[in-house]
């Protein structure tokens, strides 16, 4: 429990830093830190597959995508001057929100957790993916195909006209 709390604080802190950071590169790296912490959390929840995915896709792939995008628009990083006040406000707001939420929400969550119901049988991850939720695979194929054509459409050559 303390371990989880520790990780949550890391995630929240990394998220706040990612939002408040002045440089976009810092933001991207802080996001990666949050992802890594989340994957540790997933390990702790006894969900190794999800953790590995989180580590490789979110902390790896997405960070790489972010960093390359940042380097593509680098010039803009310096020219876009945002007022920092609204970001500096975030830690205060987050703290206030935390206090408020921790007063309001936990009783509701407790009620909800009272409705937790165990399913009939326990299956392995592979079984679930391949047999029970096979239609999701079709969804994954669809969305990957969509991603391919999206990139092709956005970056492809314009037509003859």
């Amino acid at each position: 429990m303390t371990y989880n709390l520790f990780i949550y604080i890391i995630i929240a802190a990394a998220a706040i830093l990612a939002v408040t950071a002045g440089k976009m590169l810092t933001s991207a790296i802080m996001l990666a830190v949050a992802s890594i912490a989340l994957s540790l959390l997933l390990f702790n929840f006894n969900a190794p597959w999800a953790a590995v995915f989180e580590l490789s896709v979110c902390a790896g792939l997405i960070t790489v995508l972010f960093i390359s995008a940042v380097s593509l628009v680098k010039k803009e990083d310096e020219s876009l001057k945002e007022s920092r006040g609204k970001f500096l406000l975030l830690p205060f707001l987050a703290l206030a929100a935390f206090i408020t939420f921790s007063v309001i929400l936990p009783p509701w969550f407790e009620t909800l957790s009272g409705y937790a119901k165990y399913p009939a049988g326990e299956f392995k991850v592979g079984e679930i993916i391949w047999n029970l939720r096979s239609i999701d695979l079709l969804g994954q194929v669809t969305i990957l195909a969509a991603a391919v054509f999206v990139v092709k459409s956005v970056f492809g050559k314009r037509s003859e006209q």
């Binding site: 006040g85 609204k86 406000l89 205060f92 707001l93 206090i99 408020t100 929400l105 509701w108």
Partner: protein
């Protein structure tokens, strides 16, 4: 009873005596008034001690034949109010001793003495007719008070405005009193309270009319509009005496009397009262937040804080009522103190414009410290007195089950703290302007009342147990309200967490505003002042668009022309109304689709939150 009568009679006679003294004499009229008022205070204090021991005195004289007798009665609530009124009179007379800016000294003290006498009479009255006699008397002196406080046309106009607003509401109140008396068969309050009236038929009208009189006296929305004007056009002495203290005490006292003592309210009237309180809180504090004048900012807060008292009494449960009454006395203390600091600053620097002020902390340390204590108290920072009374009001309003009122009160607290951060920051901190290099602290007579009041703020805060146990609870018990809960004491529960969150938010908001405005503290409210929809509302408010008085004055002007043109007017309505309405709305909607992503996103997120509340997902 005789001790109590001193507080009524002595000021009355010495006021008449004061008229005989020449304006040219030095110190004579001041010392006379101060002496008289201090005597009254002592007498009232002795009366209070008597009442605390359980002695209830009364006086009945033949008056007005069979209609009503002249009856005064000092139960616990009345004695308590009497002592409070006398305290403020004594303090303000001391404070004004060396304040030049209060108009003619003779007339000022005459007004103070008369107001003291009449207010003391009003709180002691047991007969409604007797009370009206004193109450209406105060109206006259309200006019002379403002009109004689400065020699300018605006002052006269403001005085007339205050007079008219209060005259109209008092007229309504007289009708209400007559209805009540006719229904109950007696004008004697103790007699009526024996069998409380219920809100049916004419009784509802009677109650509502008296309610209007009471809340207008206390300066609640929408009858508050003369107070901010008076802040600009009259003296700090007047502001710290009448709108900040006496009017609140009397208005809330009478509200408590009619709502708890004479009538048995139902749940509908409870919602009406609480809504009135909540609206007053929000509207006035929104206006206060953007003010650029020291006294005017304070005056809007004087209105806003009234909302807490009405909200507290409107909850109709002992916790909220106790909170309302406690807040009444607390508010009078710190708001008087704040106006006194404003006067002190004005006296030494010659201005009240917060843009021109700055960095006065080390120049006027006593004033600054008093300001900080009183500002912390009004913002509800624990453990000052404002925190305890607000907490009671919150608790009371939560207990009724209408959570919205609680949130309205919290928003009020948030903006209150934010505006006092702005005010304090720009007046006492920041960079000292070169023209104020030689500013000195005010003299002793100005500082002494402020120090006393801030000491009371501290004492009623750290020792909140004493006033609640010995003043508020017995007062309530005297009119038949006994709480089953423990009212006093500090509770580090979820309400405390909530107010901590509000304090953090306000701090964050101030830093944000300060940064956005380029590190100019007096502009720290601009990000809210100039927010998309709010800025238009503020503009309209600054043009007195929402001011009932100004509106009705304009209405009178246009009324005759309107009648003349009514024929065409109706033509126009049938012709243009639908297309005009839709066209106007459509334009406004178009303007809202400004292409700004941030606006869209914020609206969507707010909409999502509202939806979740509606869908009851967060039950």
């Amino acid at each position: 009873m005789t001790t109590n009568l001193i507080a009524v009679g002595l000021p009355l006679f010495s006021a008449l005596l004061l008229l005989l003294i020449s304006e040219k004499t030095k110190y004579l009229k001041e010392l006379l008034s101060i002496g008289v008022l201090l005597t009254s205070l002592i007498a009232a204090g002795m009366g209070l001690i008597l009442s605390m021991k359980g002695v209830q005195t009364s006086l009945n004289l033949e008056w007005l034949g069979s209609l009503s007798s002249f009856s005064l009665k000092a139960d616990m609530l009345s004695s308590f109010l009497l002592a409070a009124v006398s305290m403020f009179s004594a303090a303000v007379s001391l404070y004004s001793f060396s304040m030049e800016k209060k108009g003619s000294s003779k007339w000022f003290y005459f007004n103070v003495l008369m107001t003291q006498a009449l207010a003391a009479g009003a709180v002691l009255s047991d007969s409604l007719i007797t009370m009206l006699f004193f109450w209406e008397g105060m109206l006259v002196f309200l006019y002379t008070f403002i009109a004689l406080s400065a020699d300018s046309k605006e002052t006269k106009n403001t005085a007339l405005k205050a007079f008219l607003i209060n005259a109209v509401t008092d007229l309504l109140m007289i009708i209400g009193v007559l209805i009540t008396g006719a229904l109950a068969g007696s004008f004697n309050m103790s007699a009526i309270s024996g069998s409380k009236l219920t809100l049916t038929g004419w009784a509802t009208a009677g109650y509502v009319l008296m309610l209007i009189g009471a809340v207008a006296k206390a300066g609640a929305f929408p009858f508050h509009t003369w107070i901010p004007d008076a802040a600009l056009n009259s003296s700090a002495s007047f502001m710290s005496y009448v709108p900040a203290a006496i009017d609140k005490l009397l208005g809330i006292y009478f509200l408590a009397r009619i709502s708890l003592y004479l009538y048995q309210l139902d749940s509908f009237m409870q919602i009406v009262l609480m809504t009135l309180g909540a609206v007053t809180i929000i509207v006035a504090v929104m206006m206060a937040f953007v003010q650029q004048d020291y006294k005017r900012l304070l005056s809007y807060h004087a209105v806003s804080q009234t909302g807490y008292m009405i909200l507290g009494i409107g909850t109709l449960n002992p916790i909220g009522i106790a909170g309302g009454l406690f807040h009444m006395i607390n508010h009078a203390t710190y708001k008087s103190c704040l106006f006194m600091t404003a006067g002190s600053v004005e006296r030494q620097t010659g201005t009240n414009d917060i843009e021109k002020l700055g960095g006065l902390f080390w120049k006027m340390p006593v004033t600054a410290v008093c300001f900080i204590i009183a500002a912390a108290a009004i913002s509800g920072i624990a453990p000052l007195n404002g925190f305890f009374s607000k907490e009671l009001v919150y608790k009371g309003s939560l207990e009724t089950g209408y959570v919205w009122f609680f949130f309205a009160a919290e928003i009020g607290s948030f903006l209150t703290l934010a505006s006092f951060l702005k005010l304090g920051h720009s007046v006492f901190f920041g960079k000292l302007k070169p023209e104020f290099e030689n500013v000195k602290e005010s003299p002793f007579s100005v500082l002494f009342p402020m120090v006393i009041f801030s000491a009371i703020c501290l004492a009623f805060g750290f020792g909140a147990y004493w006033p609640i146990k010995n003043l508020i609870e017995p007062s309530l018990a005297g009119i038949g309200i006994v709480s089953s809960h423990e009212l006093a004491g500090f509770h580090p529960d979820y309400l405390f967490a909530f107010s901590l969150a509000v304090i953090l938010l306000a701090l964050g908001n101030h830093i944000l505003g300060f940064n956005l405005a380029g590190k100019r503290a007096h502009k720290a409210s601009d990000h809210i002042h100039h927010a998309p929809i709010l800025s238009e509302i503020y503009d309209m408010a600054e043009k007195k668009f929402f001011d009932l008085y100004e509106l009705s004055m304009k209405f009178m002007n246009y009324f005759s022309r309107l009648l003349f043109k009514s024929d065409r007017f109706f033509d126009k309505i049938t012709d243009n109304m639908p297309s005009g309405f839709f066209g106007y709305t459509a334009e406004k909607i178009s303007a809202a689709h400004s292409g700004s992503y941030s606006l869209y996103m914020s609206l969507s997120l707010i909409g999502a939150l509202i939806y979740l509340f509606l869908a009851g997902g967060l039950k």
